[in-house]
């Protein structure tokens, strides 16, 4: 079945590099409603290249919503208007013929634009390096089920672990706060027995680095949860607040001053 093609006007952010000032450039495209948003950009880039023009830089990898590489702000919403999907899972059938679509990069001080729609999210890596791990000695694999974990706890940890680290929470937050991401990482380790030895040190270290990197503070607008492609709950932020407070109130001298 041949679907009717859509005529769309795109207003795409173009920025040469992190030091230059960007602006919106208009592009008119005709695209199949069955195409994904990124496929539309691929087509547009093919056309640009065939005309000898610079293609639009944007990121993508798996294109099935599990890697967290893609991420565009479409008409003011990270990953576009459809909830619980990444940009790569957004299809053009969600737009109407004649629509104008504004495409912007994730905007945050901690996520500087590299080029056009590509941003540097290595700030997330730095936060993970500060504590998003467990330390365990290598050796033979332990017996399965030798550590008992209640099903509800395992499920909750898994919910937190479903964070793909795309950064939509930062992009959606009016304060460019990274708390949903950080709390998901802290919770998925902190809920499980293997994460206990470093539980309080982890939260102190990760929050310290998060604050230093220039992310804003959370004001509980919950825009992050609404825009998260994996639907990570803000209850993990509450959990992180609890753990951080507990870490600070513990009698032992705080490791992170």
């Amino acid at each position: 079945m041949e679907s009717k093609k859509l005529n769309l006007k795109l207003k795409i952010w173009r920025q040469k590099n992190s030091n230059s000032v960007g602006s919106f450039v208009d592009y008119n495209v005709t695209v199949s409603p069955d195409a994904s948003f990124l496929e539309m950009l691929d087509e547009l880039n093919n056309n640009l290249e065939s005309q000898g023009l610079e293609p639009i830089a944007f990121e993508s990898d798996c294109r099935e919503g599990i890697c967290g590489t893609c991420g565009l702000v479409i008409n003011g919403q990270p990953h576009g208007p459809i909830p619980r999907i990444a940009t790569c899972q957004l299809h053009m059938r969600n737009f109407k013929d004649g629509d104008t679509i504004w495409v912007e990069p994730f905007r945050a001080k901690a996520f500087p634009v590299i080029k056009d729609l590509m941003v540097d999210r290595s700030a997330f890596d730095k936060i993970l390096q500060a504590g998003g791990y467990i330390s365990s000695n290598v050796g033979g694999a332990p017996d399965a089920n030798s550590i008992l974990i209640p099903k509800e706890v395992a499920s909750e940890a898994f919910d937190a672990a479903s964070c793909i680290g795309c950064g939509a929470c930062v992009a959606a937050c009016k304060n460019a706060s990274a708390m949903l991401f950080v709390s998901a990482k802290i919770s998925h380790l902190g809920l499980l027995p293997q994460g206990q030895p470093e539980r309080y040190r982890r939260v102190e270290r990760m929050i310290k680095v998060m604050d230093e990197l220039g992310f804003g503070s959370c004001t509980n607008t919950y825009a992050c949860e609404a825009e998260c492609p994996k639907g990570i709950s803000v209850k993990f932020i509450a959990r992180m607040n609890r753990d951080y407070l507990a870490a600070k109130l513990k009698a032992s001298k705080s490791e992170v001053a």
Binding site: G216, A226, N241, Y244
Partner: protein, 224 residues
């Protein structure tokens, strides 16, 4: 005490301070509204209530200092957070899609708080000042507090400022109430939906309750 300083300067610590001072102010507002309801029962009831408070002045003064500190911390910390959070996004989005992912109450805390602050200055400048410090009509000295209040509530512009400020106070409380629980780490599917509803009911009671007094006295034309 280095750990405390670190805590209060951290992103979570600043939230915590907002929630702590905010919770205190939430409780204060309940007591304030209950006391003010005596206005509806005429001059004897209200003047008697204020006189009773005046009879335990030293205790009231201590509470006032704590209350004033809570207000100052809440305001200064709020302004600081607002400035820092603005800096976290130096280039704004061209298209703002925030109406699709968050409530207007949560996004306008700085604006609603600022207007409530302006109101607070006016409120203290008239009632607190005249009850305690400057008494030009020689009413507070005769314990005629009711007369001072109803005098101000006969001016339309004063009533208008009150009503606008109380609507925005309601907006502020609607978000602030449940937000405090979230910050304290109390978010659970068992009770969070209830807390959110309770916060909205609380905000409506406060806004309607405090706004009803100026409206009532303006409509009946000042004092009874």
């Amino acid at each position: 005490m280095d750990w405390l300083k670190t805590f209060l300067n951290s992103s979570i610590g600043k939230k915590f301070l907002m929630a702590l001072t905010g919770s205190f102010l939430i409780i204060f507002l309940i007591i304030h509204l209950i006391g003010n309801i005596t206005l509806f029962f005429g001059p004897e009831a209200f003047n008697g209530y204020v006189k009773k408070l005046a009879s335990i002045k030293p205790l009231i003064r201590v509470i006032e200092v704590v209350l004033f500190s809570a207000f100052l911390l809440h305001i200064f910390n709020g302004v600081r957070l607002w400035i820092e959070n603005k800096k976290a996004r130096p280039v704004e989005y061209k298209i703002n899609g925030s109406d699709k992912n968050s409530s207007i109450f949560s996004r306008t805390m700085f604006v609603s708080g600022s207007i409530v602050f302006i109101f607070l200055v006016l409120h203290l400048g008239t009632f607190f000042w005249r009850f305690n410090i400057h008494d030009p009509m020689n009413l507070a000295s005769q314990h005629k507090y009711y007369e001072i209040v109803t005098h101000f509530f006969s001016y339309w512009w004063y009533v208008l400022v009150y009503v606008i400020a109380m609507i925005l106070l309601g907006f502020h409380l609607n978000h602030g109430f449940q937000s405090a629980f979230q910050t304290f780490g109390l978010n659970n599917k068992k009770y969070t939906p209830f807390i959110k509803k309770l916060g909205t009911i609380y905000a409506i009671i406060m806004a309607v309750g405090f706004a009803s007094m100026p409206i009532y006295f303006f409509l009946i034309g000042g004092a009874k």
